[in-house]
Amino acid sequence: MAQEYGQWPESCWTSADIDWRAAKKITAGIDIGTASSQAAILCDGALFGYANLRTGANYRQAADKAIQMALGNSGMAVQDIGAIMQTGWGGNHVACATGETDELTCHAKGARFLFGPSLHTVVDLGAQTTKAILLYDWDRVRDFMINDKCATGMGRNVEFLCDLLQIPIEEIGEKSLEVPEDPEPVSTTCYTFADTETLGLFGRPEYRSEALTEAEIYASHLFAIAWRILGLIGRLQAPEVGDIRITGDLGFTGGLAKNPGVTKRIERELGVTALTAAYDPMLAGAIGAALLAGEGGESHGL
């Protein structure tokens, strides 16, 4: 098998310390995304196990595999879980689920779990959709913005671009930050435009004062993504006059949250430092779903 450049390694973990048999309440959440799927199991509100894997073309299979991986060798079986909430793009395919809810609410709840109580603005950088969420109370959604149709699929496209450029996805972000100053971003309109532009940036110094370095090319691409996301965040609460601002602390979830080439640039433009997640930020949706499952299947914050 040829080297895979565009994919995050799959991962799973099951707690060795928690005695699940003693737990009063066991709940699980499964988040089936278009590119990756996650499962999270909570015992009395504490994370007991999780899994993060590629979705592939079969949502049902991915869901089964995710929950099995999260259960690990703990001896717990699916039947032992009190309630299982499904969410995400394919969040209607999970055979063992007892409830279904929308992604935004899950991400809000999951992000508070991952980032703590000071969190007010969540930016979910998924493979397919990008969402900016403003929280209120403990974990309610006050307002949210989802990417324009033209800006869909940004996350997965980074994966594909890494594959084309043959640079591992874990490295592209760090590498892009090695530039002294960000070059002009490529097109922020559409990833097809952005890709064709990025692929053309190599070589040919006569067009520019000097040819772009490898790092500058990655920076150019990731800066464009960051810029597009910035517009989404800004729309949440644009002040009458002045620069973009956000309320309270900021947290990133989703696959691109692990790409500092995107997140650091957003932080720089906003002048803030984002909170650090206690676990893999891709788990926010699944953890949120598990928390919602624990609230007795109430699927939204009325």
Binding site: G56, G153, L165, Q166, T192, D195, T196, F202, G203
Partner: protein, 258 residues
Amino acid sequence: MLTAGIDIGVENVKAVILKDGAIVGRGKGRSGGVGRNAAAEAALAGALQEAGAASADLSGTVATGKGKYDLLFADKQVTEATAAARAAKHLYPDATCVMSLGADETLVLTFNAKDKIGQAVLNEKCAAGLGSFLRKMAMLLELTPDEMSALPPVAPGGATVNDGCVVFAELDALSLLNQSVSSREIASALTDAAAIRACTVLNDITIPMLDCVVLLGGLTRNHAFVQALQTRSGVDFTIPSEAEYAGALGAALVASDH
């Protein structure tokens, strides 16, 4: 005289060694991003090996393709249009039109009475990256290139996706996936949508239809796509066996001019 032509695209690099108008060696590999020069060197080495020659034997090396300016060792660069025109005219002296389908670019050329290029049309940005798009969708749907190539045409009343924009097409494909439509049916719809996008480039200058339209480029290996393009455009394409190496062939022909 021995010349080399290298076609370095966004996905693959192809090298051809030409001896007195005949291909005597071919090489191919992935092109990568920063690794383009190395990839081209490797492809050229492969071609030379097949030709049983050494790089010192070459009297000229010409590069074409999106990465042509990344190659440190090429003597000259020519645009993809020139390379495609040279290759088509070399293979089919009667060609009246060439369509080249790459991973990133779709290109259509017509010849005028003097066998010079009359009009050249490059795809609009909305139709960029069709080859890459189909590969990306194959990855999403977990289908191999052979499976993509063997897809049936879109069935009447079958699933369809947006044909105006590949980004929207992808979104529609994901919706279909969620509605448990089979991967193959979705892939057929995507192939058709890509063919429609390619067809818009062709339509720009070739109505009424021209008699000998030569189809070149890597996408010609995808039979389902070619079939869909033929159906959508009504053009009966002439596809040479060297279609995939045509860019490199054209470049090598230019090299032999000097």
